[in-house]
Symmetry: C2
């Protein structure tokens, strides 16, 4: 099921594809270059043709030709993926969804909207907002990433704690299957127990089972109130305690609960302009939390949060805290959090992990992982942060201060495997948000249970018997 089994398409076959989409649907020459590299420059792709169909029907016709001639396909959305899932390896045509941009329906009374796959996530948020509703998925790349890609990678982000991953926000999908048939399952229903919930296979399927061309997404009431806080804590145990306390004190109103170790703040202050220390004193660990309520008369949110912080101070769970007094202050806090990744890159390449464990296992995981990494790199620095409310840790390692950016290049693989070993001890996930793609493919095969790998392969074979959909990715 690797790309090796697919030969390059002939000129005649490519002409047949060109004829379907017309000149507007072909990206050539220098214009094609941006489709073949990704933002971390980890992979440089190659393809015989970049094709951008204008409609699900055109996608279907292109895929039918590919199915007939056993031509492999790599679907691509906004090309923001971090694991190379969207980059063709050589003989696959690259099928971009960028021209599928119709708003098919917005139904506020059903709290749903039906969109083409090529609209960006930011556009989807805006469409919801214009209808007086909230679409909660929010990730750093939202201005560029597309709905189809967000579905195919089951994206997460900062609002998962309250609203779920993309999987939880999809009511229905439309997809072109590996045989070229259009599967219309654009259901707008909250309840539907009529057979296997097949859309779940394409959500997070990384384009290996079909190409998502449209979707029905869930909408929510607009948040009417928001309280953003930053707290300083002594250790990760207290972070978990604060989370539990926050959930008890404000119910379902914790939207975001983000962890940053002190080094994240230091690196951000060093590398990113317009950032300032969120609290007066230095603390080992910081929590950035956001509480939202969509009830217009719920004046109690701010009071609930104040009571929570008072209780946490009294119980020595936190050392200090600040509440953002306005949107500008809230944005300043978020600016730090959103800059950690860039600040880390400014310091060095290091080794990066996007892992998850059970929330109660977070302190033990971090301790055990730090110990394991220090055995390999005694001077390692830990840029540990993430969506801690979801058990999702961006666990990143840097060499000692002042070291060359590439100092850990030779040890990266050893570090990663050591971290994944610890993840295995806690029955965690080696890829919480970013997926498998090309980057973690071998790790997946090595670390997932043989029973489950066998099930995955059986399903891939059942739905894509020729293996033409995004070969060399995930499986």
């Amino acid at each position: 099921m690797t790309i090796d089994t697919h030969s390059a398409p002939t000129a005649e076959q490519l002409d047949a594809i060109r004829a379907i989409v017309g000149p507007k649907g072909i990206v050539e020459g220098d214009d094609a270059t941006p489709f073949l590299s990704e933002r971390r420059n980890r992979w440089q792709g190659a393809t015989p043709l970049v094709v951008a169909p204008a409609s699900p029907q055109e996608v279907s016709e292109v895929v039918k030709i590919c199915a007939k001639h056993k031509i492999a396909i790599t679907p691509q959305g906004g090309n923001t993926g971090l694991v190379g899932g969207q980059i063709p390896l050589g003989n696959e045509i690259l099928l971009s969804l960028k021209r599928l941009r119709n708003i098919r329906a917005v139904e506020p009374l059903n709290n749903s909207m039906t969109l083409d796959a090529g609209l960006t996530l930011a556009e989807a948020q805006e469409i919801a907002h214009e209808a007086g509703r909230f679409f909660p998925l929010s990730i750093g790349s939202e201005g560029t990433c597309q709905i189809g890609g967000v579905i195919s990678t089951n994206a997460g982000g900062v609002n998962v704690l309250r609203y779920g991953n993309m999987r939880d926000l999809v009511l229905g999908i439309e997809a072109v299957l590996p045989n070229g048939e259009i599967w219309n399952s654009l259901k707008r229903l909250r309840k539907n127990n009529t057979g296997y919930d097949l859309k779940q296979l394409l959500i997070g399927g990384e384009g290996t089972l079909g190409i998502v061309t449209g979707a029905v997404l869930k909408l929510f009431p607009l948040p009417a109130q928001k309280v953003t806080i930053c707290a300083g804590l002594d250790n990760t145990d207290n972070v978990v305690k604060l989370l539990s306390l926050a959930q008890a004190a404000t119910g379902g109103n914790v939207s975001s609960f983000e962890l940053m170790y002190r080094l994240c703040i230091d690196l951000t202050l060093k590398h990113i302009p317009n950032t300032r220390d969120p609290l007066n004193a230095r603390h080992p660990v910081y929590v950035l939390a956001e509480f939202t309520s969509s009830a217009p008369t719920d004046a109690g949110l701010r009071e609930s949060v104040e009571a929570l912080l008072a209780e946490a101070l009294e119980k020595n769970i936190i050392r200090d805290a600040t509440i953002a007094e306005n949107e500008a202050q809230a944005q300043n806090l978020w600016h730090i959090r959103h800059s950690v990744s860039e600040a880390t890159s400014g310091e060095g390449l290091g080794a990066r992990h996007d892992v998850s464990v059970s929330t109660n296992d977070i302190p033990a995981f971090i301790e055990k992982a730090n110990t394991a990494v220090k055995k390999i790199v005694p001077t390692a620095r830990f840029v540990t942060f993430g969506h801690i409310g979801d058990g999702n840790i961006h666990y990143n390692i840097l060499a000692e201060e002042g070291a060359d950016k590439h100092a850990l290049d030779d040890q990266r693989e050893t570090i990663e495997q050591a971290v994944y070993d610890v993840i295995g001890d806690f029955d965690g996930s080696i890829s919480a948000e970013h997926g498998i793609g090309r980057h973690r493919r071998d790790d997946l095969a090595a670390r997932k249970s043989p029973v489950e790998m066998e099930m995955m392969r059986a399903i891939k074979k059942a739905l894509d018997p020729q293996g033409i959909m995004n070969p060399g990715k995930m499986l």
Copy 2:
């Protein structure tokens, strides 16, 4: 893939199964009778053996023998299903999960618990409560139905609007696959993008792809406050408007939003003891809604609901409303709602449907369906109620008042098909909660898109190539 392809097991094969589970694991003679009929007495089953393994390991060993000899299996939980999915047709052994009753882990800091499949839903709620947490799934049969069955049928109930169906409440599962292997995917993670989310196939899979033996379930903060109301309205348009208003006014705090037409109230008053009219005057339509908040300091919930009702009265969306002043009053309101099904049975068998449409399509659906049914039975009475906040309507038809209980028996099939035709016009679901089982199997094949039926069959064949798992159900 029907039962016809499986012959009866031999005495020797049955002895091999008996040897695995021992005398305690075999149910014989009169004791076996309750396993073979269900509460609506629609199907009388038959089986060569009722076997109740004591552990996932024993389930695995039994299934391995079945796989070896191509013996079919019908898994059974609490035997509360309404579509016959849990009743063997003849040659299948009946595999009861009732002896799998271990609490494997309760982790309040992770808001999760790991349970064996044979614990009842009510026990699961209680286990959560003892840990200071809330497990929200609630259905009429919760004292009897089991976690494994609730997962395999993706049960819904009264709290779906806020907390989702069972699918949304499962973090991980353990299952015995059709080849007898134990698939342990008891993940306690909120984020895990490592390949296809295979558990989604077994959730709502009705036992056709494997036997769920354990699960990790999500927990929530305990609701600290609750406000229950009943409102009288002129028509269904206003019901949808009230829902939208309620969501805007109280944010995510609408837990239940239930519709009852006046006839539901009349039949309940007539057939069920200890029920009283919820409002002074008669209204065409009633809404029973519950608002909950888990924030202890959220004193604003009651005020929000009062403001909502005042606004709805002023806008002529509702005609009258009552707020339950205590738990007893709230229970009285719920008693009416929970009794509608029994009251309907007291009046006649009629024709019953468990359907769903987009929330904004509810008024048009009811009008069009009523018209279609009246063409068949001009004197039909409509016992229309349901979880309207989820677009889920229990759309039930009775013959005219005083008619024989079996008056509609001959027309039932014609009525059902007419209602399903209307459901098709609205792209709705012919089974919102209850599933397919044996009852709606032919309807599914006739009404689901050929593309999707083909995908379902391909997956069934891939994971259960011998077709031994619950044959004759769903597919």
